[in-house]
């Protein structure tokens, strides 16, 4: 198992390093992620469209609120599972 | 030659009848008389439906019916032509006899699981008719597989470990061959875009490279393992553990006939006479089946078990059918096609006699049958008729097909094939005459009193023996098999009747 693990890890690590050469530089304001028009939109419109000054909050609760619903579902599922597994009484 | 087509649902109904019957058989499983009644009703309806199509076919027309377009360009469709109806008449007619015989056999031996038996029997018959009426390779494959599956429980009927292992063997051979057939169909479809049978062969195959064509032909013939060509014949003697009516079904009515039927369909309706001739495949195939004819006859001589001897005889006789088709002369094909019903009638007589011996005298081995004719004269007379037919002697029909085959071989001036036919006739005699001799002329070990099989068994075997004689004496009566075969041959050779 250790050998398999090592091979897998080396393969994955190799892939990561290989890809790392073309990743945008750290803190690069020219990176595609930052240059995409949606960022501009979020920064300029977050407050008017969402009413909060914190853009992360605006994104979390408004633009990508649906992800947050999913997130809540994940917590609910996990809670349900834990109850299911650990509670001894009939549920 | 333009061929008029008629659209009619009758072929689909003919296939469906026994499907419906099988459901009814299941439903009435607890009432043996009603259950078997359904079998009879279905057998008669099926036969009349098949016969009702005969006049149109004799007029040279073709009946078509498309059930559904299963996949685009891949319909499940029926097409009744002369060759198809030849096989359909044989099967559906013989089913009536086998049904009656089954009832006698199964009740006398008090076999278990009779509902399953009749159910599978009905499905197998549907499949056989389905094969006969298939308009394309895919429909044929569908029923071909259905036939394999539905006959497996029949072969393994007794559920002993021997039966199960024979059943497995049966299934293994036929499933592998089915896969091979599927592969061939795929290839044909890939290269030509169709799988529909055509009187002159499927157009487009002739453009294939020669090697591909040969490989395709080989995979097709492996796919026809139901026809029991020699290296692929082992399932047939193994399947003899089944009850005798099942053997009759396998040998005379459905399974092996479906095999040779498919082989001829492939040879004449997929490849076509021209392609067979150009590629030289006909000659290789003729030599190949000749080996089977001779070897199987020799094997038959060594068997003491009567049913096994008959099984090897079938292996040998089936190759006659294919030999006739690959002779690709008018006479040869006539002989080959005609051998399907003729062999059916004669072999079913022989098997029913063998079954009657098992049921009444409890005898399976030829060496135990000394003087058995004194106990069962009618049975043994019928047996003699069938055996004479097999050898190729009048009055039974066998001599006619052999005559046509010989004519075909003579037309080609091929001394080897003529020799094969003659030698095999001698060999046939060599393994059938001892049975007749033992039964009629050897002194019984102990005194035997007259005791025939029950009427439900005796009547059918007598009738088939009589029919074997009739088709031998008046082969060319209007509407008889020879008439149908002539039309079929005219279709594929493109000539007049």
């Amino acid at each position: 198992m250790k050998i398999i693990a090592l091979i897998a890890v080396i393969l994955a690590g190799g892939m990561l390093i290989y890809a790392g050469q073309d990743l945008p530089a750290f803190g690069d304001p020219e990176s595609p992620a930052y240059q995409h028009p949606i960022i501009e939109h979020y920064i300029t419109h977050a407050e008017t469209e969402s009413g909060v000054g914190n853009i992360v909050t605006a994104l979390l609760a408004n633009y990508r609120g649906y992800d947050t619903l999913g997130e809540v579902t994940v917590i609910f599922t996990a809670g349900m599972t834990v109850i299911l597994l650990l509670r001894r009484r009939e549920i | 030659m333009a061929i008029e087509t008629v659209h009619s649902i009758t072929p689909a109904l003919a296939v469906l009848v026994s499907m419906v019957a099988s459901v009814l058989i299941l439903a009435f499983g607890k009432y043996p008389n009603i259950r078997e009644g359904w079998t009879f009703v279905a057998a008669f309806i099926k036969f009349s439906l098949v016969i009702s199509m005969l006049p149109l076919i004799l007029e040279g027309k073709v009946i078509t019916y498309t059930v559904i377009e299963m996949l685009p360009n891949l319909p499940i469709a029926f097409k009744v032509d002369a060759f198809g109806i030849l096989f359909a008449i044989t099967s559906s007619f013989l089913w009536i006899f086998v049904s009656s015989y089954s009832i006698g056999y199964m009740r006398t031996l008090k076999e278990h699981a009779q509902t399953r038996y009749y159910f599978c029997f009905a499905i197998a018959l549907s499949s056989a008719i389905g094969i006969a009426f298939s308009a394309n390779l895919v429909t044929l494959f569908l029923f071909y597989e259905l036939l394999t599956i539905s006959t497996y429980p029949l072969v393994a009927h007794t559920e002993t470990s021997e039966a199960i292992s024979s059943g497995r063997k049966y299934l293994t051979y036929l499933m592998i061959s089915g896969i091979s057939l599927l592969f061939s169909i795929l290839v044909v479809y890939h290269y030509t875009g169709t799988t529909e049978f055509s009187f002159s062969g499927i157009a487009g195959l002739e453009t294939l490279p020669r090697t591909t064509l040969y490989i395709l032909f080989i995979t097709f013939m492996v796919g026809c393992a139901k026809a029991a060509f020699m290296p692929l014949h082992a399932w047939l003697p193994a399947a003899m553990v089944a009850p005798t009516p099942v053997s009759a079904l396998l040998h005379a009515v459905a399974v092996v006939k479906a095999g040779v039927f498919t082989a001829i369909r492939v040879i004449l309706y997929v490849f076509g006479i021209d392609l067979m001739e150009i590629s030289g495949l006909w000659l290789y195939m003729a030599y190949f089946v000749s080996i089977t004819i001779i070897l199987a006859s020799i094997f038959a001589m060594t068997q003491d078990n009567l049913k096994k001897r008959l099984a090897y005889s079938t292996v040998s006789q089936l190759s006659y059918v294919v030999l006739g088709a690959v002779l690709i002369t008018q006479h040869g094909i006539t002989g080959g096609m005609l051998h399907i019903p003729y062999h059916g009638f004669m072999k079913i007589t022989l098997f029913m006699c063998a079954g009657a011996l098992i049921v009444t005298a409890k005898k399976e081995n030829i060496s135990d049958m000394n003087g058995i004719a004194r106990q069962m004269p009618i049975t043994m007379l019928a047996f003699t008729v069938g055996a004479l037919g097999m050898i190729g002697m009048p009055p039974a029909g066998g001599y006619i097909t052999k005559w046509y085959l010989l004519l075909g071989a003579a037309e080609l001036d091929n001394m080897i094939l003529i020799g094969v036919l003659l030698i095999s006739a001698v060999l046939n005699a060599a393994y059938f005459f001892p049975v007749i001799y033992v039964a009629f002329f050897k002194k019984p070990d102990k005194e035997l009193t007259y005791k025939e099989a029950p009427l439900t068994m005796l009547v059918p075997l007598t009738l088939t023996a009589i029919i074997s004689i009739i088709i031998g004496i008046w082969p060319d009566a209007p509407g008889m098999f020879l008439d149908i075969v002539n039309i079929a041959v005219a279709n594929v050779t493109g000539g007049g009747i």
Partner: protein, 150 residues
């Protein structure tokens, strides 16, 4: 090759999470102890979070909270044009992903408790051996042994 050397010196953050990822991944596959596997999974996931967060960084950027308090719309526009904010999107994504990771860990730990109750061990080998029923009473035995060690 020069690309890689450049990364080694310039992109130290990248090396940190690549290393973490490999450590976590290795632990998930190779470790026999179930808790260690879960820890490995957490390290793996954390490394990915770091990767996302480092994507968000912009040189000279500040947290993506508009710098104006409650002064009204005019001020907001002014602030927006002057200040560089870091990319807010990866933060959002990773907030979600963290919750997912925590939930997965919770389920994993609950499962581990169940496994321990059943087999009396958290070592994969022991569980496997028990499941193969080499020693039917192994579970009880292993439990006593572990209690003794404590």
């Amino acid at each position: 090759m020069s690309g890689i050397i450049e990364i080694i010196f310039a992109e130290f953050n990248y090396w940190i999470y690549v290393t973490l990822m490999m450590i976590g991944f290795y632990a998930m596959i190779a470790k026999k102890n179930l808790i260690k596997k879960v820890i490995g999974a957490n390290i793996f996931q954390t490394a990915i979070f770091l990767f996302y967060i480092s994507l968000a960084e912009v040189k000279g950027g500040t947290a993506p909270i508009l710098l104006h308090g409650h002064d009204g719309a005019d001020a907001a526009h002014k602030a927006v044009s002057e200040v560089i904010y870091v990319n807010p999107l990866p933060h959002v994504l990773i907030l979600t992903a963290i919750v997912v990771a925590v939930s997965t860990t919770a389920v994993a730990l609950a499962l581990i408790i169940k496994i321990y109750e059943e087999y009396g061990s958290l070592e994969e080998d022991v569980i496997l051996a028990y499941r193969r029923q080499l020693q039917p009473e192994f579970s009880e035995h292993a439990r006593q042994k572990q209690e003794g060690e404590q």
